[in-house]
Every structure is written in C-alpha cells, then in structure tokens.
Subunit: 412 residues, 2 copies
Amino acid sequence: MTSIRKSPGDPSSASGCGLPVVPGFRAGGIHCGIKKDQKKDLVLLTSDPPARVAGLFTRNLFKAAPVLISQARVRSGRCKAVLINSGNANACTGEAGHQDAVAMSRWAAKALGIEEESILVASTGVVGERLPLARIRRALPALLRSLHPEGLVEASEAIRTTDRFAKSLCRQSVIGGKEVTLFGMAKGAGMICPNLATLLAFFLTDLNAPVAALRRLLKTGVEGSFNRIDVDGDASTNDTVLLLANGMAGNRSARPGTHEFEAFADLLFPFMDELASMIVQDGEGATKVVEIRIRAARSKADAKTLAYKLANSPLVKTSFYGEDINWGRLMVALGCAGPLLQPDKMDIFYDGVQVVRRGISAGKRQETLAKKVLRKDRFTLTIDLQVGKGNHSVVTSDLTHAYVTLNASYRT
Amino acid sequence: MTSIRKSPGDPSSASGCGLPVVPGFRAGGIHCGIKKDQKKDLVLLTSDPPARVAGLFTRNLFKAAPVLISQARVRSGRCKAVLINSGNANACTGEAGHQDAVAMSRWAAKALGIEEESILVASTGVVGERLPLARIRRALPALLRSLHPEGLVEASEAIRTTDRFAKSLCRQSVIGGKEVTLFGMAKGAGMICPNLATLLAFFLTDLNAPVAALRRLLKTGVEGSFNRIDVDGDASTNDTVLLLANGMAGNRSARPGTHEFEAFADLLFPFMDELASMIVQDGEGATKVVEIRIRAARSKADAKTLAYKLANSPLVKTSFYGEDINWGRLMVALGCAGPLLQPDKMDIFYDGVQVVRRGISAGKRQETLAKKVLRKDRFTLTIDLQVGKGNHSVVTSDLTHAYVTLNASYRT
C-alpha cells in the first residue's frame, strides 16, 4: 500500500508521484463570484463511467436545499457528477433557494450532457442568503474547461470556507489483485464540537463495489471517524459525506462478506479517521487536538454523554488553551452531565500522568508532570469512572482568542 | 417602598442613607490568606435573634464539603451564623476536605458561643485544593471583631472570586404595618450559561415568617431568577442560596396565604431577578446581556431546551459579541437541538426588529435595523416558532476575548 499524503496547504508536495489521480474521475474548480478576492468557490467532480454512490447527510431539521436534493437523488445509487459551491450554504432560503439549487444542477447536467438526476449538489458557507445564480450560470463553461484528472487537489482547495488549509488524502492498495485508488477531501473547521460548521467530505475510488457495500462502508466509516469528532445531533444545515466508486479498478465486486470488501474497509476506515483528525487540527482558531476518553462508565451511552459534555464545555476548552491542569472543571462538568458517577472512584489522566486518584488530587508533583503534557499540540485526556463497562472517546480542539476573533467577525 | 440601590463596585453610593442595615444581622469580612494580594476571603454573617432559614443547593453530583454540611443543617430551619470563604471551593477534596469544613464551622461556632449545628458554611473558588485551615483558625478572632451591623456591603465584596464588582441590593417595604428590610448579596461571574462558576447568594431579612414560608418563597423566587440565568442541571459543585429571616420586624407571621406572605413575595421576587441580572452583567468577560425568548414551542420543555441551546452555543454567543446578525447560526443551533420545529413557520426578532420571516430572511433593510439593536449592551432575541404554546426565556451573556483570557489563565 503506497501512501500519497500531502502537507497541509501544500498540494504540490504530493510525494513525488504527481498530483493524485483516481481513474475515471475528473475535477475542476474556479472562482465564479460567490467568495470575494477571486478565491475559488465552484467545484465540479465527474466520473466516467458513472459511479455508484452512497451518501450521509445532516440530521439538522433545517436541511439546506442542496442536501434535500442530493438526499433524494443519492437513493438511486448512481452518480455521474457532483457540483459544489463554497461561500454560500443555500440554507434557510426557502422555496426560492430550493429552486436555485435545482437550477444550478440542471444547468450543470445540461452542460455535461447527463441526466439531471445523476448530478448531486453540495453547498457550504453563509446561511440565509440567496446564491448569485447568474454568476454560477455564466461560470459553467469555464468550470467544465477546468475539469481534468489531476484536478482533485485543486478541488479540495476550492471547497474551503474558514478552513486554514485544504484537507485531502490519497492512498492506493492492491485489492483482489487489482490496484485500487482512494482519494478523499474534506472541509470542516468550525469548533467541530459543537459542530456548527459544515462538514463536507467526498471519497472517490475506482473500486468495483455494489451500492449496498458502499452504504455499509460509509456508515461504519463515518461512525468511527467524522461522528467521533462531532456531537450527536449537533450538525450544520449542510453536512454531506459521499462515497463514489466507479469500478475502473476491475476488481471482483466488493460485496459485503468478500475479501475485497474487507480489504477496502481496511483501507477506508483509517483513511477517514486521518481526514477527520485533520479537520480537528484545523478547528477554527485551534491550537490543540485533544482526545477525550471516557472509560468504565455505566454504559456506552453514558460514556458518550460525558465525553461530549467535556468536549463542549467552554471552561474545559479554555483550560486546554491555557495549558492549565484545572481538573476541577472536569469534575464540575461531569458532575452535572446527567449520568451517575461516584466521585470517590474517579481517576483522571493527561496522557499517562494521573492527576486525580479516587476523586481527589494525586498531588502537586503529578500536576507538574501533567503540565508538560498540556504543553503538547496533541494529548489524551482519560477519565476512568470505574462504575461500569461503557467506553467512548471523542476528539476535540481548544477554545482560543482566535476562535472568538474568527466567529465574532465571520460575516463582517 | 424605598430602594437603596448601589452602583456596581461603589458601595459608598448607598443613596445617602448610609450603609444598609438589617435589624439583628451583623457581618464582617477579612483577609485570612486564601486569596493573594491581601484581598478579603473570609466572611461571617450572624443573626441575633436566631434566624429561620431556607436553602437551595447545587444538583451537581460532586457536591463540595460545605454544601453537604449546610444542606444537612438547613433542614432544622434554624441558623445563627453563616461562615463563607472565597478563593477555595473545598470541592473534590474527599474526606479530608469534609473534615476541614466541619473543623472551620466548629471553631467559628465555638468562638461565637453557639451550637455547631446552627452555623452554615459556604465556599467558592478553586476546586480540588485543600483549605489553609491553620490560617482560617488564626483569623477567627479578627473575623469576629470585624462583625458589625453595617458590614453587609463589605461582606458582599469579600465573597467575590472572578466577579468584577460586588453585587448587593437593599430594599425596605411596609408589610402588615411594619417596616421590613431585605438585603441580598450574590457572587457569580463565570459565563453563567453554562454556569460552571459558583453561584452564592444570601438574602437576609428581619421579616417574621415560618420556615415553610421561607422555603416556598426561596424556591419560587430562585425558579424565576437564578434558575433562569442558569442551565438546568449545569451547576457548580458549590452553588448555595440561603434566605434568612430573624423576625425582628415584628410583623404578623408571614404564613403562606397571608397578606404578609404575598407582600414579601412582591418584594423578594423582583429583587432576586435584579440581583440575578447583575450576575449576568458581570459574566466573565461579558460585554452584553441578552434575553433569549422562545415563543410558541410545542411545549414549555421544548422552549427551555431551545433557549438553553442558544444560550450555550459558542457560535451564537460570539455573534452577539461581534454584533453580527448571523441568524443562520440561530437556525442551525435550533435545528439540531432536538425539539420539532417547522422551519417555514419561524420568525426571529432582535428587540422589535424582525430579521427572519417564516424561515427566511426578512430582507437586508431589516438586518440593517437589527444591527443597531445588536450594538446595545442589552437586548432581547425572540424566536417565535408558531408550533404550539410553550414559552421560556433565559438571560445570557456574550462570549468574548476577555472570557478566553480569564479562563485560560484562571489558576496560573
């Protein structure tokens, strides 16, 4: 298995083997006038032959127009193209916004010479404003001209909003004797937990697999990656994750239960995890990535509740930023989260350093050692409750001055 | 009814009638060495004759030692003194911390010549550290000497932690032909929603009332004031609210159902609301106080969930700070809060200015008008869901650079 991994923000460093290419896929991105400053804001992905597709979408009650459209179309399991814009979410725009999304997908389908139902759409950016439709329409010929097999990294640049760097990965693996390529790109930023920023992620592969396999792979993969950096039910209006597979690799069909299915799962799951981790690293204003592990809660559900409670507490997140072993804040947050705890059984560790033993301080020396852990860019916070067998972990970022700056002036 | 209201941080401005006095009560505050910089950190309140008392305490599973002690003692309904320290919460300190709290209350009781069970204790400050008991013991003679009838405002100064200003109010009212005085002091700060900072509030009055009346008054009063600035279940380890009444006013007993009871309720409830509002105004780093009103949800419970969802969203709170009409963030947060909503029925107003009409923008002109509302120090955000009859409102503050600064370096 070769790995074509790029440094953040430096697509040219694609480890000497040129820009990543997935057989059959082309991508292009241009500036059409949604964003300011000539930044790219319109992206097209195409597959020839047509791809099979699986999709997961936001559970927010306010689903953006493109989500509603793609959610309906993805059920067919077939997809020839994906049209994405950044800078405007086309959310909370009512019936007019819905018509806008239908129109832009129709124009793109017509330009590509494909059926309207075989194109999916996704949008990210400001909520509540209408898209500049005329600009999008005018830009379509240039967008089509920009399509090329090596355009994937460019596309990952163009889907950014407040993301500091483009997030994409490419890997290859031999599956059932055939070389299979997997490319993924994502945009996220936002403080992720709570994730009110839009998550868009697109996975393109030449694997040959039936739609049922793709659906199962996507669901399991997202559960172990993007959903672990997210808050249950706390999702933006536009979250969209798609997995497209066009079969160009010519492998025996990766039906569930086959060796090919398992081999691709082994490729996909850590790949998704890595991409998800890049999103946390790029959390708005984030300076730290912290994995919060809840151990031995009464149940898995309790462990989840407690993990998200900490990941969402401004007091806990500012203590990460301040590199402050303020474990009292952890206790306070946990104690009012709901699940039953026994204070005198709880242990707390930063990486391997124990700071709380059976509910009380493990001593000043331990705190001094833990302080060194907190200075790191990445560390693990483990809460061992010792009241049951429920475990869960989430990955989160710190709450910083830069976060406030970014979000106090996002639109202005 | 006369009102003796002080400006924040300026106790001397007690409207020309001297420092507030509640007949029978004395108060004192000194520096004993818990806080740095010679700041006052130890407070004693006494009542002679003994007061009747009602108390409400945190629902956090990690209850600090003083909370456990006071919660047990308050059941007797009688109280002669309250000992309070700031700078150290004596929380998550295990059995040793419990013994510390017992010891300090025992010493104070002995010094005052009263039974140990008639003194209540409260602590606020850093969690997880032991109290400097020897310093507290040594300081008791000086603390007793500092007791005087006009010491109430001084005491309200000494219970501060990150509070920018002391919060106290004094009012008088003629009840059943007798002049009744009510004094209240509170400390809070923290971002309040979620309230992980400790709320301490003490209400002292010379009203004559049975314990049952005090309990009912406190419960109803707190529900409409402090609980409205707080998140259900999201409370610190040390939250304590006490209502002491020593009967010195000589009024006919204010039993529930009597005119006296109603008259005192009329005095107490707006008084509590005002003190609660001062806490929000003093929210750590806060520059704005925002009342969030949810109207016409399917149920009261739904309205509460939605109100707290907005009050706790960092994205919403930074948009207040940025004076940014980013109503999309409101929709996003509401859409994943859980309760059922109908996007195309929702109206949103900043004070009287409508920015969302039936789920979509009410137009640029409205946004420009609303922008002026957001520039104010205080405003109301109303979300009218039009799906039922459930209403709820909470009061919250914005999320600012100063909040991050304060909380990233609280202990360091």
